[in-house]
């Protein structure tokens, strides 16, 4: 896990950067609104976004379940697909964490020195959305409008692996019309944990239920986070409880404008 270095700032002006979107397989397949919102948001901020269609998955689920070896081709694919870009942006803290913190180890395990070298080049150019906005674009106010009561859950991998810190909160605070309320015990894990959610379903649900209870306590209409996987888990519990709280990815709120709300 990282000790919290922020990503290096890029020299070239934003309009000249070659920026790729890493949609992530889960968002691509299940939550397309999130990468769509990411594209809308970045284009609104003057970034030209490419979507290299050869991309698939970072292999996180394989690695975390004990099949890191099977993830090796995905690590190769990742550097092949994204190697040529100046920056890669993904609306998922845990997938970025997997690329930056796990890909080097997988290459090393495979004793593939050439691959390890390429990973060392590519991985630091991969940014979680809030990092890219704040550190590379240098913006906090992205011109969003979202007149709702919102509470933010910092997901574990963005918090403790990537150390995004308060970047998402700073971005949210700058959204016009938003009523941002603090989530009690926000830094506690929601209990998703990939296959943990199924292998240790009872503990996972116990954790998720506590998280859902805290969300409901805030009186928020919308729960926001930087990872749709955690949101699917907490949202699944909130949904079963018919709580009426909506789940939304950070990108979707930041992409919202006055026209969307009218």
């Amino acid at each position: 896990m990282s000790t919290g270095t922020s990503r290096p700032a890029l020299d070239a002006p934003v309009s000249q950067l070659r920026v790729a979107l890493f949609a992530t397989c889960f968002n691509d397949t299940m939550w397309p609104e999130t990468p769509k919102a990411t594209v809308r948001l970045l284009e609104r901020l003057g970034v030209t976004v490419e979507f290299p269609t050869e991309q698939t998955c970072c292999g996180q689920m394989l690695t975390n379940t004990g099949y890191g070896r099977d993830a090796l081709p995905l690590v190769r694919r990742f550097v092949d697909v994204f190697g040529e870009y100046d920056a890669v942006v993904a609306p998922s803290g845990s997938c970025v964490g997997s690329v930056r913190e796990q890909h080097p180890g997988i290459a090393e395990h495979a004793s593939d020195g050439a691959l390890a070298g390429r990973v060392a080049e590519v991985a630091p150019k991969v940014y979680e959305l809030s990092e890219f906005l704040v550190d590379v674009l240098g913006v906090v106010d992205v011109g969003a409008y979202f007149p709702h009561r919102v509470t933010y859950h910092p997901t574990c991998h963005s918090l403790r692996m990537l150390r995004v810190g308060d970047r998402p909160l700073r971005l949210l605070r700058a959204v016009r019309g938003i009523d941002l309320v603090e989530l009690p015990e926000a830094q506690e894990c929601c209990g998703f944990g990939g296959t943990f959610a199924v292998k240790n379903a009872d503990v996972s649900i116990a954790m998720g239920s506590d998280k859902a209870r805290h969300v409901v306590e805030t009186g928020a209409e919308v729960l926001v986070a930087g990872d749709n996987s955690c949101l699917a888990h907490i949202g699944g519990i909130l949904g079963r409880q018919r709580s009426g709280v909506r789940r939304m990815h950070l990108a979707e709120i930041l992409a919202s404008t006055e026209e969307d709300q009218s």
Binding site: M1, A23, N27, D28, T29, M30, P32, E33, P35, K36, E43, T48, F51, P52, T53, E54, T56, C57, G59, M61, L62, T63, N64, T65, G66, Y67, G68, R69, D70, A71, P73, L74, C156, H157, L159, R160, E188, C189, G191, F192, G193, G194, F196, A197, V198, K199, N200, A201, D202, V203, I205, A206, M207, G208, A232, H233, G235, G236, G239, R240
Partner: protein
Amino acid sequence: MTTTPVRPPVPGPLQETAPTFIGMPKFPKGAREALANTQQRRNLRHATHTIRGKRARVVAEVPHWEDLRLAGAAAKDEALHHLADYLVELEASLTANGATVHWARDAAEANAIVLEIVRAKEVDEVVKVKSMVTQEIELNEALEEAGVNAWETDLAELIVQLGHDRPSHILVPAIHRNRSEIREIFLREMAEVGRPAPDDLTDDPARLAEAARLHLREKFLRARVAVSGANFAIADTGTLVVVESEGNGRMCLTLPETLVSVVGIEKVLPTFEDLGPLLQLLPRSSTGERMNPYTTMWSGVHEGDGPQEVHVILLDNGRSHVLGDRLGRQALRCIRCSACLNVCPVYERTGGHAYGSVYPGPIGAVLNPQLRGTASEIDKSLPFASSLCGACFDACPVRINIPELLVELRAQVAEEGGRTAESAAMRATAWLFSDPRRLTAAQKAATLAGRVLGDRTIRSVPGLGAWTNARDIPTPPKESFRQWWARERGSGTERSPR
């Protein structure tokens, strides 16, 4: 001492599972039972959150906490990377100080050595300082079998012992008990083994502590042999260190004529100076105090002062096996502070018993399968008893990267498991993602289902009960992102319009 280059360690044998834990069910089963115990859950939540808050406060007031962590980890690593040399140095220093050093490969050897010393002293009881390692080797049980009573003198250990219970936390072994339960245990059990609890005992903490003190006092004054562990063993000075809060340790370490200390070989530190960072890290991480009330250090025998016969048993019991693992050996840095337990959201809800060892929580989830291997049901399941949230790594004073080790152990379990339904599913996933065309085809099926389902909520799916028992499942969208991109933007590698 000058250090020699790292010798490639020869992995020693695995630890044999202690009798109490043989045949333990896998973690999710134990966890389910623990989750159903709502009183215990309340006790645990209250206790872990209290210690968590205290720890956070005293850690935050140290400006160079990160430097301290690095120094602590470096001292432990230096010792571990040259373990054989420092152990030999420790033995020489201890011997020069008048202590007798014994070597034990495993629990059986260590227990036999203790018993031999106790027999030579012709006693039928010993007093004990709280020690994880003597629990690991089940020394009390071995002594009891030989007709020797081992009295635990730490308050929480006493509660566990009197309650015929098992410890569930490294620092606070009775964390799963609340005050009124403790009162009941004292009233029921104390009379059986010594001074009874007063009839009018209440559940006021001061009254409970007083009852324990009076009960223990006669044992301290009577005992001729004490058994302890050690938090640190200093190679250059031959000094053992015990860190504690209640003063019971100080009594045991100074009053009896004979002192036997069982010390895991990973407890060695190169020099006395290394205590500097570690004695700052340990109490803040452990009890959330700036300094613990009692730190006892003894270097062999001093005439007319303290125990006149000092034995030190250096125990392997699987540790040299862990040392042979390049990545895994960092777990041997553990100073048993229990900070990782207190911040762990899984431990907070399940308690310690589900981990099937005296080492519960995040460190237990790595250390037990490392020490014992991954053959048994419980050890196979422990690396998965974590959501990989990373709170343990952040809290660990010696920077053990527990999530990384868990993932590593998961790979070991998967490899040893051979071909299973899971490995087939994972391979299928890898195959699907190895070619974007396959992913696109799979998405067509998913989005077709999404179009059929429309806005309906999915509440159950056959085979996915573990998910859907308490969670709705997301309905697939009508169109994947890449389908949308192809429709809107044409070929993906073209630059999007400005």
